[in-house]
């Protein structure tokens, strides 16, 4: 079946450093959604990308959808301790979630 892989699985960064997580699919996706789950919490929707090559920004977060619509990335500039959590990508057509990237930020 269709799979969506995320890398890395874990990332530990010093506060102020940048962070990027990647989401890769074996097939073309109609859309990509990103969710954030704080430790002990539930996934919360961040953003949706639909167009090829689309780039969206939310303050320090930059989301990108690849030209071939098979991959996506989430980049956080100058991480803060509030960014701690697990970031998931998702595709609504197949109702699948990536395996997630767990971000730890050290002050």
């Amino acid at each position: 079946g269709q799979q969506v892989m995320q890398i890395p699985q874990y990332q530990h960064v010093q506060e102020g450093e940048d962070f990027t997580t990647y989401c890769n699919s074996s097939t073309t996706l109609s859309n990509i959604q990103w969710y954030k789950q704080r430790p002990g919490g539930h996934p919360v929707f961040l953003i949706q990308l639909v167009k090829s090559g689309e780039v969206k920004k939310q303050k320090r977060l930059t989301f990108q959808f690849g030209e071939a619509k098979k991959n996506s990335s989430l980049h956080i500039t100058a991480t803060q301790t509030t960014d701690v959590g697990t970031y998931f990508c998702s595709n609504t057509d197949k109702l699948i979630f990536g395996t997630g990237t767990r971000l730890q930020v050290f002050p």
């Binding site: 079946g1 995320q6 699985q9 109609s30 859309n31 959604q33 919490g41 539930h42 996934p43 919360v44 929707f45 949706q48 639909v50 998931f88 998702s90 609504t92 057509d93 109702l95 699948i96 979630f97 990536g98 395996t99 997630g100």
Partner: protein, 113 residues
């Protein structure tokens, strides 16, 4: 604004017992979903429902039963719990299935001894 709630929040049961996890949403969303979350596997879809009395299997449906007699409720039943069903279970809802965000409940942590 209650949103989407799950009960119980924590449950410990024994192998072979029947367990029902409840999910209730106040938005009248058409779609509801059940996921399980295990370390290293992310979120995996168990079952979903497009409307009352319409349900469909997801990626990992074996050992689970769902029903949806009312739009706002979507209970998940483990007919005979096994240790491999120890997990965190999330219920979610959305207005439509495509191009629409899912709203997640707080989760139920289930331990099967």
């Amino acid at each position: 604004d209650a949103g989407i709630t799950q009960s119980p929040r924590y449950k410990i049961t024994e192998t072979g017992r029947q367990v029902t996890l409840m999910c209730h949403q106040t938005w009248s969303h058409s779609y509801m979903f059940w996921y399980r979350q295990d370390l290293g596997h992310g979120l995996r879809l168990i079952y979903y429902s497009a409307a009352a009395d319409i349900t469909d299997k997801g990626e990992v449906p074996d050992g689970y039963v769902v029903s949806r007699s009312k739009t706002e409720n979507f209970p998940l039943t483990l007919e005979s719990a096994t240790r491999s069903q120890t997990s965190v279970y999330f219920c979610a809802s959305s207005i439509v299935i495509s191009y629409n965000e899912q709203f997640f409940g707080p989760g139920t942590r289930l331990t099967v001894l």
